[in-house]
Amino acid sequence: MKARIHVTLKNGVLDPQGKAIEHALSNMGFGGVDEARQGKYIELDLAETDRTKAEASVDEMCRKLIANTVIENYSIELE
């Protein structure tokens, strides 16, 4: 089973890299981008075949390492 994890900064946390992307896009002539936020994407190949168990285990991995919940949110997709 594959887990796809997105880690994003929480609302209200300043994202200077996202801001730089936003400015670069605007300088390149791309209009209409109100905001850019940068995050991380992580893929895991899991040996687990039980969806519920996999979800619980990946959630724990996110809480304990993959995301820093002081500043970040995460979402998990299993496939």
Binding site: L14, P16, Q17
Partner: protein, 220 residues
């Protein structure tokens, strides 16, 4: 005073810290590799600056989960004076021993210069040698020193005197210009500036020396 400097792959201020500790305390510190599970009882633990694990995932994230950090968290929670500088500060926030997180500098640039900061609380074992409200000069060298915590945490830190140092001007976007914080017990300090690089006039000043002397005086 017996001290230990913890060394991770990618630490690069471990020797600066060791030299400062030896010069000031008169005793060579123990250098402890991150894969150790245990080490001798010491009076003071230092987590040095650097780029441990290449800052992979987040600064300090990998080191915070290393074998040795389990032991250090245990000792820090038991009251052993523990001091994290720069990457060491990032590691301490990643373990949750200190509140908040260190994010990419708001200006995106690596900041490497001497900065002024004020001593916000002289009641801690790390700051008792400074005068209240004193402005001191200590070098910084970091890309991720932008201190972040939610407003509730920041209010609590300020209200309870857990902010040890504040920059006199905004150098990296840190919330409320916070440069260093102590834990609730007061035995753990984390800070972005490098006092170990300012311990004698030959290095440009001695403002950092006072911090180590404060700890020494407290430990007797």
């Amino acid at each position: 005073m017996k001290s230990a400097v913890i060394v991770f792959p990618g630490s690069n201020c471990d020797r600066d810290m060791a030299v400062a500790l030896e010069k000031i305390t008169g005793t060579k510190p123990l250098m402890v590799w991150h894969q150790e599970y245990d080490f001798d009882t010491v009076d003071f633990i230092a987590l040095p600056g650097g780029f441990s694990y290449g800052d992979y995932l987040r600064c300090g994230a990998m080191s915070a989960r290393s074998h040795i950090m389990k032991e250090i968290v245990k000792r820090a929670n038991a009251g052993v004076p523990t001091f994290g500088v720069c990457n060491g500060f990032q590691i301490l926030t990643e373990t949750g021993v200190l509140p908040g997180a260190l994010m990419r500098n708001a200006g995106l640039h690596f900041v490497c210069k001497d900065v002024e900061m004020t001593v916000e609380n002289t009641g801690t074992m790390f700051t008792s040698g400074y005068k209240a409200g004193e402005t001191i000069t200590i070098p910084v060298a970091h890309h991720d020193g932008n201190y972040f915590a939610d407003d509730e945490t920041l209010d609590r830190l300020e209200g309870e005197g857990h902010v040890a140092f504040k920059y006199t001007s905004d150098i990296n976007g840190a919330q409320r210009r916070i440069a260093g914080v102590v834990n609730a017990k007061g035995n753990v300090l984390g800070m972005m500036p490098h006092p170990e690089r300012m311990i004698e006039p030959a290095l440009g000043g001695s403002d950092g020396r006072v911090l180590f002397e404060s700890v020494m005086n407290r430990l007797g």
